[in-house]
Symmetry: none
Subunit: 162 residues, 2 copies
DNA sequence: CGAATTCCCATGAAAACCCATTGTATCCCG
DNA sequence: CGGGATACAATGGGTTTTCATGGGAATTCG
């Protein structure tokens, strides 16, 4: 799993009244270099109160990895069950949304609720994937390093939000 | 992690009104020999009041190393969390900026603030990476060897700055 | 028909691009 | 060895393009 192009950087974008958000251009660049889709996949993050996002090419890679894992292990009932569970999470519990020519998606209501995203969406590159946060939830989470919170605060200031 | 080409040397360049700075040519040479990107990655230095900078190839290497570490360790909750935190710091808390045909970047405001860079940027090669300093902060730091400060003073004099 | 959704265009700010100038180090040829 | 010509680096300025975002028209669906 050595991906050539990695998601990096941060941005704070507005969610408008219609539920539209611009995917930052630097993230779109990575998506389009990894494959030719203009689409992102959204999922609830396993550990943090935010969303995890990636491109369809990465979803395929993840699936292949799961498959290999299953074939390698002897097919004990436990391994079978775990595979089924993870596969469900990886595919049923995600939503794929295309972005338009101006780089915006229409935020799916279910995901928006799961990520508790309000009028501001904080995008954070994390290498293979990226995350979408309600900035306030990030500031409130004790597990997030202070230096990263500084960045979130800076992005908020930039927009004139206290 | 034995990189063939290393960053070395020093230079003092101006940041203009638009926030542009020339990356010294001798550093660009190393970047382009390591990979074919014309891009640098900026991060806050962990210990000093300056910025740490490197090329995307080095960032990818660092990432691969993290990944391998995770797969080796048993996936205890603690290890998982630390992995998440380090990934966030390595990718969300950094910015990737391309330099143009004349070798200049547009200094991202957030990083400029984090590094407290004013109108002068002091570049210092440090092998695998290089650093960008506000020269005054380097002179004021008691942890910096006097010989290195002499170099900074020389670069300042060269420009006619007291 | 009404509500929501998709499409299309408008705009202001910021970023990328292009061209010009200057200084300095290098080279080459007399 | 000198001196002019050359190449490249750093920097300044103006112009074009892209980005994020808002609003409205057209279209679909119940």
């Amino acid at each position: 799993m050595a991906l050539e192009h990695l998601f990096q950087g941060s941005a704070l974008n507005a969610v408008d009244g219609k539920g539209r958000v611009s995917i930052p251009a630097f993230l779109r660049g990575v998506i389009e270099r990894r494959g030719d889709a203009r689409t992102i996949v959204l999922a609830k993050h396993e550990a943090f109160p935010c969303l995890s996002a990636y491109d369809p090419a990465y979803a395929a890679l993840k699936h292949a990895k799961l498959e290999r894992l299953l074939e390698k292990e002897e097919t004990s009932p436990d391994a079978q069950l775990e595979y089924q569970q993870r596969n469900l999470m990886a595919f049923a519990a995600t939503e794929e949304v295309p972005y338009d020519s101006s780089g915006r998606i229409l935020f799916p209501p279910m995901m928006r609720r799961k990520g508790e995203i309000g009028e501001l969406a904080l995008f954070l590159g994390t290498g293979e994937t990226f995350q979408i946060w309600n900035p306030q939830l990030l500031l409130d989470d004790p597990r997030i390093p202070e230096d990263l919170k500084d960045i979130a605060r800076f992005r908020l200031e930039e927009r004139g939000v206290s």
